[in-house]
């Protein structure tokens, strides 16, 4: 499967995303420069973590105006798969490709930790190899990961199943203590209404090999690969990729 990892000035997890997809998961990966407009036939676009444009103004606020983001918006509108990790999640919310916003952690401190996540919706292209209720362990490292959205919108998102991952404790309970950044409803990852765009603060690309951290992050990428291997799904995406 063909992947495109976008490199913005200030991205820093782009190398891990490329390494993980290419060397660990054996995928066909192209690094895409933010000033280019072509997605080079990618079937899934990855917006990696980092500090695009130094996080100036608001995280992701400047990167969303990079030339390539017009192509990403069109790709997403055509049904193409897009995943934003950490700063990539922030960029997707700023670009209005995902609902809500990510604000300063309630502790005001940068958090680098290992968290547990509960799969809330296993019927998305990003979680289809998991089961609802599965607990995944992944690292987080962010200063602005507190997910907020208007209460009315949150209710609609819950009903539609757009809340894909929640922060939980090791037993799987979404307690306040297990919520690292104060996110509303312990939200760690959300999808758009059409379920082809997904953003999450935890880093699946840092959790692909047992010897480094654990391999639960694989389930996210393997889900995308499994989803895309269904011919009807692939047909939809091809129509979008340019």
């Amino acid at each position: 499967m063909k992947w495109g990892v976008i490199r913005f000035p200030g991205s820093l997890d782009d190398f891990d995303a490329v390494y993980g997809l290419r060397d660990v998961l054996g995928q066909d990966v192209t690094a895409l420069w933010h000033k280019d407009e072509s997605l080079q036939g990618a079937e899934c676009i990855v917006l990696p973590g980092g500090f695009s444009y130094g996080d100036h103004l608001r995280c992701g606020a400047i990167a969303r105006f990079s030339p390539i983001m017009k192509s990403v918006a069109k790709f997403a509108a055509d049904g193409g798969l897009v995943i934003g990790i950490c700063n990539g999640f922030q960029i997707l919310t700023e670009a209005h490709l995902l609902p809500g916003a990510l604000t300063r952690n309630r502790t005001l401190s940068f958090i680098c930790d290992r968290v547990h996540l509960r799969v809330e919706n296993a019927k998305t292209p990003f979680t289809c190899t998991t089961r609802a209720g599965d607990i995944l362990a992944m690292p987080i490292k962010h200063g602005e990961g507190c997910y907020v959205a208007p209460e009315k919108e949150l209710l609609q998102m819950e009903e539609r199943g757009q809340i894909v991952l929640r922060y939980v404790d090791a037993k799987g309970d979404a307690t306040d203590a297990a919520n690292p950044n104060g996110s509303m409803r312990s939200i760690a990852g959300v999808a758009n209404e059409r379920f082809n765009v997904f953003g999450l603060m935890p880093h699946p690309e840092h959790a692909l090999e047992a010897m480094l951290f654990g391999a639960d992050g694989r389930k996210i990428f393997e889900s995308i690969i499994a989803f895309q291997s269904v011919p009807e799904h692939r047909g939809q995406m091809r129509a979008g990729a340019k």
Binding site: L57, A61, T93, A101, R106, T107, L108, V148, A149, G182
Partner: protein, 82 residues
């Protein structure tokens, strides 16, 4: 003309900076302080023929980039010109 833009966290959105400063003010002995909100103050100069033109441009700038309508409110003042 100069545009002064004030961006503030929307009511109901958690403002941990404001809350922390509120606690600090209380511990310094400033009683009765509440609703501390910390926002952003942006100034910029703009070539515009009339204040209305500057106002229209500033409004677009705020909506598109300077503020995030999901979580922030904005207002601005125009200074100079006719």
């Amino acid at each position: 003309m100069q545009v002064k833009v004030f961006v503030t966290p929307r009511k109901g959105i958690l403002d941990p900076q404001g809350r922390t400063v509120e606690h600090a003010l209380a511990s310094l002995g400033f009683a009765g302080v509440s609703e501390v909100k910390i926002g952003r103050y942006i100034t910029l100069n703009i070539d515009a023929k009339t204040p209305d033109e500057a106002r229209a441009a500033a409004s677009k700038m705020c909506e598109q980039l300077l503020a995030n309508p999901n979580i922030e409110d904005f207002r601005f003042e125009i200074e100079g010109g006719a």
